[in-house]
Symmetry: C2
Subunit: 491 residues, 2 copies
């Protein structure tokens, strides 16, 4: 199985694609650009959802559901939004099919043409703010803190499983506030939650920052993002939180009466993460033996594999294994006991390694005799033999160790591949030959940003929040700059 | 608030619509036939999902996700399926918009026409069996027990919030088996789970049965359903489970090698419940004072309302209330303590009654003095005063009582409105003047079924599984019949 995997260092893109399909995470569907998320991949998504949903609710948000269809005219109501989203999208023009006279098939019924075309939502600001209009009259109706778990469609020309697909799953928060300050606070609170989730659950160190004007969400005043470094030296945007100002309130005429009886437009935010995070998870941690999953998001945290030579042994091992399994489950750990007879222990070892199960327990005849278990960790592939009675304590500690180790490994990799660059020569050299995060001065203009992109394919991933003030000169134009920004080639 | 509700006995349809919109469960969107599920309605759906998902997983099912789009030609592959589903559906014909030369808006880019139109899934058998084709070679790959939580679209002409909308949320299970027997077992297992869920969580007594040929799912060999009686005497189908035989395997050429090396087509089932269940929940239990929600699905199970005359009292009451709240929450009960100052206690009483919160606790100055709490139950509106120290025990018991009482009330209503009828005169009289479930003999022919429908608008809800063999004569044709079937007018 592992040998079916292209070597990561030879062809990173192919390695990734092999891994996603062969580990049964997802596959391309017959519908161009749309993926099938298979049960093992979906189980990771469910773990992500459960944790994020908990964090959203703990901060006062509630879930709701808005229609998948958006009237075409809505997209044009916010001037910048239309440029960003009303291009590559799925357009519904008819609502009925009829039997084809010439074949067994069906054809569009020309009489069932919609008066106004409907767009399959690429994002829901417009349809949601059209609803908020009726929900908000006074400051008493604010804030509205709503999140939606949904599918969205953006017709992508070049797609890649999880990272860029025409249909994907996500959550989109849409909040409405009585003041600018409160909306900005919300925007920042949500990027903090995403950052917390990435670091503490995905074991993925991220840089928090805001986007340059060029890279902002279409319709936003400010876009915050979290950026993570992948093992091929490219950057991946893993989540965004937008301060929308009063743009959508104005586009949909949503006003409220404030405490002093004055009418004003409502302040807005939106924020989202998607199944793209699964792609980030894979790209950041996995190796040539297959997936490496952080224990907190692994669908199966521990697998138990029996090794027996005869039925008598099998039954004795099973007794021990089931006891261990039940004990681990009682501690909230997800365990699979794989005693299927049609696969060898060797095949199972390779298989669960490939699937990224963090901890493997093996019990053979000698273990039976010595009352021991062999315990192996996926991240380092290290093995040791421990007494049966210590298994649960040991596993609990090991899962924490693995979670921390995966994070630290990614952090060290990022530290080793973050460059503070002061000259254009170094910049182009690093981008061409090394990759990674480049912290460099920029003169703040769109022109320079675009020229750098044209010449090197590097973009500004973000302007890090904690990038401190520092006098410097733009690496491209030589003009003065007050702080370094984060450059990288990115997904 | 309650007086805004149309009287249930005067106009049941209007009462239902008032309730759904004024209790903030859902509302019609600007997109024809599509609803917005508001946070309070969505919270009920989340509770339903959580419980059903647990039940599916406990029986070996896993979740996955398949594309929302189905190539048009797929719908025609199963002969009966196409007749049922390839009619009223949303058709995507283009994948790009462009700026309108004549206005600020956007128009379809004629160059971005799809080669083959895509249908927004009305149900996913076709796209899923097209994937299963690649997943199944041998009996070792079976069974596949997959469920999907998703949105679907069926272009309905006459819509009603929750009960019939163009877009709705549901789960659809799609399983693949090596034998006919196993697939039938699965079909029955799932209708049992739905029935268990309806009775024990929704507090909704249901009749389990199978559909007449006429009412079967398009493409099924047999369709099981659960049928519930609403308070207006109409029947509502709350869930279905289909034995699909080898129909879809044949349509998509999905064959497997069995244990003896013989090639055979795979056996299939599919089963689903939707946001329609929320409609059933409301229609079955609620009254002229508003919603009545079974405690097991109520987003808020207990509300605590303080009644104070001054700040000193307010703070003393708050101390007691918060203690009670924390104690209830520690027992897994969802509690809201509503100490908002901008609404009177009276307004709150009416509001939470209207929202169907099962238990209300009120604490006033006298309660403070006597160390008591007033406890009121939503189902019967009965109130009593109990010592503070007994609150938690009392609430736990009361929630169980309410759950049981709501169920029993619905069961009694159904018993009082189920008629064993032997003549056509009685049949038409009951249907016209009383409504309810009618158990009557039927000759088993489609012709009779359709004539009865034409003359009375009553259909065969199902052929109940526990309807015992009994010699009789068809109420319409007088021809011999071996068992009674369930007739009703239905949603």
């Amino acid at each position: 199985m592992a040998k079916l995997l292209t070597n990561r260092d030879d062809n990173y893109a192919q390695w990734y694609n092999d891994l996603v399909t062969k580990a049964d995470l997802a596959e391309n569907s017959v519908v161009r650009g749309c993926m099938v998320i298979k049960p093992y991949g979906y189980a990771i998504w469910e773990k992500m959802q459960a944790q994020l949903d908990k964090m959203f609710k703990a901060t006062g948000h509630v879930n709701a559901y808005f229609p998948i269809f958006i009237p075409k005219s809505f997209l044009s109501k916010e001037a910048k939004h239309v440029e960003g989203f009303a291009k590559e999208c799925a357009v519904v023009t008819h609502y009925r099919l009829k039997k084809d006279e010439k074949s067994d098939g069906v054809v569009i019924d020309p009489e069932a043409k919609l008066e106004e075309e409907l767009i399959v939502r690429p994002t829901s600001e417009t349809i949601i703010w059209n609803s908020y209009k009726n929900w908000i009259q006074s400051y008493r109706d604010l804030p509205i803190l709503i999140n939606q778990w949904a599918n969205v469609v953006r017709w992508e020309m070049r797609t890649r499983l999880f990272l860029r697909t025409s249909e994907f799953l996500w959550q989109e928060g849409h909040t409405a506030h009585a003041s600018r300050e409160e909306a900005i606070q919300e925007t920042e609170k949500m990027i903090d939650i995403y950052s917390d989730f990435a670091e503490n659950y995905m074991a993925l160190p991220v840089i928090k920052g805001y986007k340059s004007e060029n890279e902002r969400f279409a319709g936003a005043i400010n876009t915050y993002s979290i950026e993570a470094l992948m093992q091929d030296g490219k950057s991946l945007q893993a989540g965004t939180s937008h301060f929308l100002g009063q743009n959508f309130a104005k586009a949909f005429d949503v006003q409220f009466t404030d405490k002093n009886g004055k009418l004003d437009y409502v302040w807005a935010t939106s924020w989202g993460v998607s199944t793209r995070m699964i792609g980030a998870l894979i790209m950041a941690h996995s190796d040539n033996n297959g997936l490496i999953l952080p224990p907190k998001l692994a669908p199966v945290q521990v697998v138990i594999i029996p090794i027996s030579k005869n039925t008598q042994q099998a039954s004795e091992i099973s007794e021990v294994a089931v006891k261990i399994k039940d004990d681990l489950i009682s501690k909230g750990i997800s365990v699979r006991y794989d005693d299927r007879e049609n696969n060898t222990p060797g095949w199972k070892f390779t298989n669960y390694e490939f699937k990224g199960v963090p901890v493997r327990l093996a019990i053979g005849p000698r273990d039976l005799q010595n009352k021991t278990v062999e315990i192996a960790r996926r991240d380092t592939l290290a093995k040791e033999t421990i007494p049966v009675q210590d298994v649960t304590t040991h596993v609990i500690k090991l899962l924490d160790d693995i979670q921390a180790n995966i994070y630290n490994k990614a952090l060290n990799f990022r530290n080793d591949n973050t460059w503070y660059i002061n000259s254009w020569e170094e910049f182009t050299d690093i981008i061409e030959n090394r990759g990674g995060f480049i912290m460099a001065h920029w003169d703040g203009t769109v022109e320079t940003e675009e020229k750098i992109k044209q010449e090197t394919k590097a973009t500004i991933s973000c302007i890090p929040i904690d990038s401190k003030e520092e006098e410097g000169k733009c690496i491209y134009s030589g003009k003065p700059s007050k702080r370094r920004v984060l450059f990288a080639r990115s997904y």
